[in-house]
């Protein structure tokens, strides 16, 4: 189905952009609502979910080498239940793709293009992503190889420019009400760390599979590092006002002012958001199309990319009339849905497969 091969390093870059692109803008605000000034501790707890997911994914792909996730489902849970689980995963991936496109469009709409109809933003991004998906995994790998340095260094340039404005006293008191608020704040970032689950779809196409684990670990540490740094910077700039803001990192960027000359850095953030979201949408779109192909044992996923595009655009609007509903949904449903689909069900599959390995059928 997919003939392209990517290296483990490219996989790491894909995963970094997939996770960091939306996380850096939206997550600090929601985390701060629960964790207050301890929000920089929350990603550290949340990364445990990431390590666990990576461990599960690596063990599954070691037990079933060169097999797709849907084949693993069928091997462990039986043909019919395996197909059913596969169907749930296909629906989940399509649904998540729709949600990501919607959150991308909402940001562009509120910050940059308030007069444009939302459907124009959604459809233009979907068409662009569809062309990349048809290009295949190698194209996605190369795209993220080009975008990764731009994304990574731009964020750190912004952080360096913000250094004169930092107020370190906002950090205190550390753990005022014990460890619990920071643990509550970790409920939201764990969705992003759980997205390392997508490695299971990319793993069979790695040219150097032995290095997959190493680069997966490095990516988790990089994501953790960026997460903690971004949260700390936002905290040092905005203090206790983070909880009320939708996009705290964008608001913090507005404070950049060096000698009245280097200022108004917010277009850079918008560019980074478009660039990162493009990779994220493409990866989820690709995984959905590939997933449908693998689930139904099709010969190729490419013909279904365009029909799937219409469905994804429709899913991004379905039952989501406005930003209020979306934010409520993000906070009440997605943390548990993400944990269940990305970590707990793969853990269950791993458990079944290891039991099956130990209990060998008795020959009569």
């Amino acid at each position: 189905m997919e003939k392209g091969k990517i290296s483990s390093l490219q996989m790491g870059m894909i995963m970094y952009l997939t996770i960091m692109s939306t996380a850096i803008l939206t997550v600090p605000g929601i985390t701060a609502k629960y964790a207050k000034q301890d929000l920089w501790l929350s990603p550290i707890w949340a990364s445990l979910v990431g390590f666990m997911t990576l461990f599960i994914v690596m063990r599954l792909s070691k037990n079933y080498p060169q097999q797709s996730f849907f084949q693993i489902c069928e091997h462990t849970a039986g043909l019919y239940i395996g197909k059913l689980v596969g169907f749930i995963y296909v629906c989940f991936l399509a649904y998540v793709t729709g949600q990501i496109i919607r959150s991308y469009a909402d940001f562009i709409l509120t910050v940059y293009l308030p007069q444009t109809p939302i459907s124009v933003i959604v459809i233009s991004m979907t068409v662009l992503a569809a062309f990349t998906v048809i290009g295949g995994l190698e194209v996605i790998g190369r795209v993220s190889q080009i975008f990764f340095p731009i994304f990574f260094f731009s964020i750190f340039i912004i952080i360096i420019l913000l250094i004169p404005k930092l107020n370190l006293s906002y950090l205190l008191p550390i753990m005022e009400d014990g460890i619990l608020p920071s643990l509550k704040g970790a409920i939201i970032p764990q969705i992003w760390f759980g997205e390392f689950f997508l490695i299971i779809f990319l793993f069979p196409f790695l040219s150097d599979q032995s290095k997959g684990r190493k680069w997966g670990m490095i990516t988790i540490f990089m994501v953790l590092f960026t997460f903690v740094t971004a949260n700390l910077i936002v905290l040092f700039i905005l203090g206790q006002n983070i909880a009320g803001t939708l996009y705290p990192f964008l608001k913090a960027t507005l404070f950049v002012n060096i000698g009245d000359f280097i200022e108004n850095m917010d277009p850079l953030i918008i560019a980074l958001w478009i660039l990162g979201s493009f990779v994220k949408i493409t990866v989820f779109y690709y995984v959905t199309a590939l997933g449908i192909g693998q689930w139904l044992n099709l010969t190729d996923y490419k013909p279904i990319v365009w029909p799937l595009g219409i469905l994804i655009v429709q899913l991004s609007f379905w039952s989501l009339p406005n930003l209020m509903v979306i934010n409520h949904h993000d906070e009440t449903v997605n943390p548990f849905l993400g944990l269940l689909m990305q970590t707990l069900i793969p853990l269950l599959l791993l458990g079944i497969s290891s039991i099956k390995k130990k209990v060998k059928p008795v020959k009569i």
Partner: protein, 74 residues
Amino acid sequence: MKWGIFFCVLIIIGVIILYEWKTIKTYPKKDRITFFILLIIAGALSLFDLPNLPGPVTLLESIFQPFGNFMESL
């Protein structure tokens, strides 16, 4: 029901079929059926006023309601 959206989606579906016809002809039957089923679902969904129609989001919200209440109590 908005006829404008429905006809736009119909035109897009027509363009997709025209564009993919040459390649899809050579694929096995299963691929062609999947292709057309996805297009039919897309066409059928465009008949409704989607933002205000109960859908997967409503289903998930009712499934995860206890957890949602837990999040709101934090």
